[in-house]
């Protein structure tokens, strides 16, 4: 089986045996790992001025960097941050990755039209709208869903090189969700449900990400039927077995290695946490993707990430469970 096949079977919650699949939503530490700036951190101010040859060199180099990251850390999936981000360049990047690595990896990118926690500047205005003009927010949501689906459709028509979308709008703080259950029902659920269903009709998988304490809205999220729920952050008090109880056995679970601890804990604390996560995740024998509870973000020590991967190599195998 290719990595892509293992990842897809896991999203379908089918047993795969062998190594538990892993990936990172974003692996920002490319400078330390490969001496290269992460594609999302690049600013190509003169892109349009570049000759085709120069653009092509940049595109090839980015595609290769994604593949090298996956290879080096045993990732089964690649999350792309197309840069530039217009359709033409998304397609170009996907073609290059497929050209270089065939169907080895599952490829995904951002695709969440639902509202997330607004930033500090707009939070007050957004909250007022939530209560006083929810219909305006919903009108906007409908448009955003249509735009997301339009992109998905165009990529589908151009060869369907992308496997799925990561829906990355954050709904929750560590203590609580931003949206109360009622607000979530009114403002998020209909659109989340629709976009996931439409992606599925086109053959795309959906991984719903949000960090923080998702427990109060977890059931609602699960009812929107994503293929996987991602991040399951212990910093937000989220526990894998508790989540499993609520969402049932047919939605894959991804994440849960405490990324805050990876940054601040001792080696021993991190090791214990990684092992706990693997043990709890593998318990069902299927439907589990190993990764951090957010991403390998800027500021995380690379050796900590590498330690986590070493433990996964040793213990993250269904055929020789050591727990």
């Amino acid at each position: 089986m290719t990595n892509r096949e293992r990842f897809i079977k896991t999203l379908k919650c089918e047993p795969i045996g062998g190594q538990v699949p892993t990936f990172e939503l974003v692996f920002f530490l490319t400078m330390e790992a490969f001496g290269k700036v992460h594609p999302s951190q690049r600013y190509y101010s003169q892109w349009n001025q570049m000759s085709y040859a120069e653009k092509s060199l940049h595109m090839n180099e980015m595609a290769q960097l994604y593949i090298d990251t996956a290879k080096k850390y045993g990732h089964s999936a690649i999350f792309v941050h197309p840069n530039p981000g217009d359709l033409e360049h998304i397609q170009w990047l996907l073609e290059l990755i497929r050209e270089k690595s065939g169907n080895e990896y599952f490829i995904m990118m951002h695709g969440d039209p639902t509202w997330g926690i607004p930033d500090g500047q707009t939070m007050m205005d957004f909250s007022i709208q939530m209560y006083e003009e929810p219909e305006k927010l919903n009108e906007e949501s409908a448009k955003r869903v249509e735009n997301a689906l339009e992109t998905a459709r165009k990529l589908d028509e151009r060869g369907h090189l992308l496997d799925g979308f990561a829906l990355c709008s954050d709904y929750c703080f560590n203590v609580n969700p931003f949206f109360s259950e009622d607000a979530f029902d009114e403002l998020i659920v209909p659109y989340l449900k629709e976009v996931i269903a439409e992606y599925r009709k086109m053959g795309y998988y959906s991984i719903k990400h949000t960090d923080g304490n998702i427990m109060p809205i977890l059931k609602q999220m699960a009812d929107c039927k994503p293929d996987a729920i991602h991040s399951l952050d212990p910093q937000g008090g989220v526990s894998l077995p508790e989540v499993r109880k609520i969402v049932g056995p047919d939605i894959a679970l991804a994440g849960n290695v405490n990324c805050g601890l990876l940054q601040t804990g001792t080696d021993e604390e991190c090791r214990t946490d990684v092992l706990r996560s693997l043990r709890e995740g593998m318990e069902n024998g299927r439907g589990y993707i190993f990764c951090t509870s957010n991403c390998a973000y800027t500021g995380l020590q690379l050796n900590r990430y590498e330690m986590m991967i070493e433990i996964w190599k040793e213990y993250g195998n269904y055929d020789r469970m050591k727990f």
Binding site: S127, Y131, N174, G299
Partner: protein
């Protein structure tokens, strides 16, 4: 229902327009401004704070209530200024250098204002020296530091040292908070008070100010 109770309840539901009208009505009925503030607006905000602390309401509800409070308080301000109403204490607050997370800091500020404290907001990315300079210039009883990143928490220790160096450590209390901050960290850096949520932060600040007066 008494009008003050009505103000409190509308405030809790974030109905700024109703609060404004009701406060005006209460003023017209000759209810003293202090009483409208205390038993209407601040009473309502207190309840919101408690509910937030107990996870019964979330951030947007707190923001809506705070907006309603500000609208009502603005109406009362000129009347309060006429009387001998003095603020219960003065606080400066900011998110520490290198850190741009301000949602929690803003909630703490709102809750403190809801308790009748005067709060100077230094914004985000605030260097240690700025807290201390502001406390001296504005005569603050409390410095409040917020941090959400483990990498920026040490700046809080710098604030404590800067206050010592400026010779004001015995005149000013230093409060610290933000998701990664803990009681033991607070003690370790020699700050005075840590609380895990905004409502408790406001309660603690009021106590500190009382003790200082």
């Amino acid at each position: 229902m008494g009008i003050l109770l009505e103000i409190s309840e509308n405030l809790q539901r974030g109905k700024a327009k109703n609060v404004k009208e009701l406060v005006q009505q209460a003023v017209d009925e000759q209810i003293p401004a202090e009483e409208i503030l205390e038993k209407g607006l601040l009473a309502g905000m207190n309840i919101v704070g408690e509910k937030f602390k107990n996870n019964q309401v979330f951030v947007p509800e707190v923001l809506m209530a705070a907006r309603a409070m500000n609208v009502g308080a603005a109406l009362l301000k000129p009347l309060l200024a006429q009387g001998d109403n003095v603020s219960k204490g003065k606080v400066c607050i900011g998110t520490v250098k290198g850190d741009l997370h301000d949602i929690g800091k803003n909630l703490v500020k709102m809750m403190m204002e809801g308790k009748g404290l005067e709060v100077i907001d230094l914004g985000t990315d605030v260097p240690a020296q700025t807290y201390v300079e502001t406390a001296i210039k504005e005569n603050c009883q409390i410095i409040c530091c917020s941090a959400l990143l483990t990498t920026t928490m040490p700046v809080m220790g710098e604030v404590v040292r800067a206050a010592e160096k400026a010779g004001i450590r015995d005149q000013v209390k230093i409060m610290v908070g933000g998701a990664p901050v803990t009681e033991s960290f607070c003690q370790q850096i020699g700050a005075d008070v840590y609380t895990s949520d905004a409502a408790s932060a406001a309660d603690a600040a009021v106590e500190l100010c009382k003790a200082a007066c």
